[in-house]
């Protein structure tokens, strides 16, 4: 009797726990979807790996003909004529000039705007200001190129001649701005990276705990003192990270500098001269029809590799600072 009861209850239980076919189908589809999603996530790793692989493998034939030392120490880049010279220094210096110049524009301005947004702006003003900065960040690079040619360069020329008129003694010191010049390129790239610095600085500053500020106010500090002595030092690693990211963006910026800074690779530190950046050189070669065996084709991969390694190093450095901020902030 009891045994029969037990048996009956056991079969009931089995029916209850048995996986229905519908249930199995659900588990299978779940597994498939999960696998597909996993492959998509892996795709980003594949993309990075291919970038590494392609830049190295495609520049290999180039470095077999031009030694690495020659590439990095050569002071001349000429692709025309029989005497081709592939020294990356002029391009590197061109990029450096643009990057530093853009930093001079974007770093102080961006920091002050960031401070204004996080410390001073009433919430109504912030609501208007932030979308405007986002809009500035969304303006295509080509448009900044146009802006440099049609407004910044004429303004630079007008400005220097005006200074030259009222202070003639300064005349020999003033650079003469060519139609395409490094300064105009640097200024517009500074404008382009400005929103990035603003928003990252603002984030870093807002993350500073309120208690720190209040403690400083309690000691009788003015608002400027609280910001300069308490808020900025505590947010420093985030602020520095924003600067580095802006510089890294400037290194990789292409269209605006191609238009604004010119297409003459020359080793110069004069902001009034034409310079050519690494990115502009890649565009220049790509615009012409070059085939795969061509030395010029191979050279852009060598430049691309240099460019990639520089920005990669800067981004890693910025991430270090961000991580540091996470530690000290908590």
């Amino acid at each position: 009797m009891a045994l029969a009861d037990l048996n009956q209850s056991l079969t009931k239980r089995a029916a209850f726990t048995q996986v229905t076919s519908q249930n199995r189908a659900r588990t299978i589809s779940q597994t498939i979807v999960r696998a597909i999603c996993f492959c998509c996530a892996m795709f980003s790793i594949i993309a990075t790996a291919s970038i590494f692989f392609i830049l190295f493998s495609e520049s290999l034939p180039f470095f077999q003909k031009v030694s690495v030392v020659e590439f990095f120490t050569g002071r001349e880049w000429t692709m025309m004529g029989a005497q081709q010279k592939f020294g990356v220094l002029p391009l590197l210096v061109g990029t450096l000039l643009i990057t530093i110049g853009s930093g001079i524009v974007s770093i102080p301005l961006g920091l002050f705007v960031g401070i204004y947004l996080s410390e001073y702006a009433p919430s109504k003003v912030r609501k208007v200001l932030k979308p405007i900065l986002e809009l500035l960040a969304g303006v295509p690079s080509v448009v900044f190129g146009y802006f440099a040619l049609s407004l910044v360069t004429p303004a630079l020329r007008g400005g220097t001649s005006w200074i030259g008129e009222i202070l003639p003694t300064l005349n020999p010191l003033l650079p003469e701005f060519r139609p395409a010049n490094a300064a105009a390129g640097a200024i517009v790239v500074g404008f382009m990276t400005l929103p990035l610095v603003c928003s990252l600085c603002e984030d870093a500053l807002t993350a500073v705990p309120k208690s720190l500020r209040e403690a400083a106010y309690g000691l009788g500090c003015t608002k400027a003192e609280v910001i300069a002595k308490i808020v900025i030092p505590s947010a420093l690693s985030g602020i520095i990270a924003s600067f580095i990211l802006a510089l890294s963006r400037a290194v990789g910026e292409t269209m605006a500098v191609t238009i604004a800074a010119g297409a003459t690779p020359q080793l110069t530190f004069n902001p009034g001269n034409e310079v050519m950046t690494m990115t502009a050189q890649i565009v220049n070669v790509s615009k012409g029809d070059v085939s795969r065996g061509d030395m010029r084709y191979q050279s852009i991969f060598a430049i691309g590799l240099t460019l990639f390694l520089i920005t990669f190093a800067l981004n890693i450095l910025a991430q270090r600072f961000v991580r540091k901020m996470g530690r000290t902030g908590s």
Partner: protein, 294 residues
């Protein structure tokens, strides 16, 4: 009646207050300057190009000979074509990757963290490097030619990190109890994602897609590397046609010596910016609606 001496501020306090005022003024001026940059830029383009924008400008073909008659039909359609294809390619992959990273990985394993770091690194790679990736993989290895398809595929990889990151943010913002309520009803995880998580994350994901689309419209450098050309006087009618895009047409006109082309460039910039503003306001409207619902 004068106030007692101990109430009047000391010299050092006055100095500190003045410094405080100066500092605040500098910050405010900086913000004003940043805003005025955008207004000056837009104002300059409008002044230069407004007179040139007309229905005829949009519906006629570009030209390097007749600046007065030149239009932007082929580059405009090229841009829209590349944008639509890019969105088509990038959305499934980007959203699926974000779902994997946010929903299917309960513990953040080493692999997941590696993928995450990798995505943010990929977001920082200069756009022109993506062009070189596209040139080697799609043009040389896969033999797709210098076509619209190559351009869109390259652009998809470029905007992929952005789509993943924005979608992840949108998924993170979905409250945890949505998932728990759904799972408690006996659904599988995928059913929960599809029926409970995705619908409520949709506005955020759409915003990300729109941002990706506007990036795809504005970027030029990688397309030059994968072989988009400056002047195309026919309409692309298949995926392997040669093509041009608006920013490239602008670049071409800026490089022309005659001043009329400069005007045409400004007019083309206006059309490009109008496109971007339409896209961005769509994103803002979607965001505002979603906020109202919650």
């Amino acid at each position: 009646m004068s106030s007692p001496a101990f109430l009047s501020p000391s010299a050092s306090t006055i100095k500190r207050r003045r410094k405080n005022f100066i500092f605040q003024s500098i910050c405010t001026l900086a913000a004003l300057l940043a805003v005025s940059i955008l207004f000056i830029l837009v104002g300059k383009v409008v002044m230069d190009g407004m007179g040139r924008v007309s229905p005829k400008f949009i519906t006629s073909m570009p030209s390097q000979m007749f600046p007065g008659k030149a239009g932007i039909l082929s580059p405009l359609l090229g841009s829209i074509f590349v944008m639509l294809l890019t969105v088509l390619f990038v959305v499934p992959v980007g959203v699926a990757a974000a779902i994997y990273l946010e929903e299917f990985t309960a513990q953040k394993t080493r692999l997941v963290r590696f993928i995450q770091v990798n995505i943010s690194n990929l977001a920082g790679v200069p756009s022109i490097v993506f062009g070189m990736l596209g040139l080697t993989v799609f043009v040389v290895i896969m033999g797709l030619g210098k076509s619209v398809l190559t351009g869109a595929l390259t652009m998809s990889i470029l905007v992929l990190p952005m789509v993943i990151l924005v979608t992840q943010e949108a998924l993170k913002a979905v409250p945890k109890h949505y998932r728990e309520a759904s799972l408690a009803l006996g659904t599988t995880q995928w059913q929960t994602i599809r029926r409970a998580v995705l619908p409520s994350a949709l506005p955020g994901i759409l915003t990300g897609i729109i941002l990706a689309a506007s990036r795809a419209i504005g970027e030029t450098a990688p397309l030059i590397v994968v072989g988009a050309v400056g002047l195309v006087t026919f309409l692309p009618d298949s995926l392997d046609d040669r093509y041009t895009v608006l920013p490239l047409q602008i670049l071409d006109w800026i490089g022309q010596p005659r001043a009329e082309f400069r005007t045409a460039a400004a007019a083309a910039i206006l059309v490009l910016m109008a496109l971007l503003i339409i896209l961005n306001s769509a994103a803002i409207i979607i965001r505002a609606r979603a906020q109202k619902k919650v």
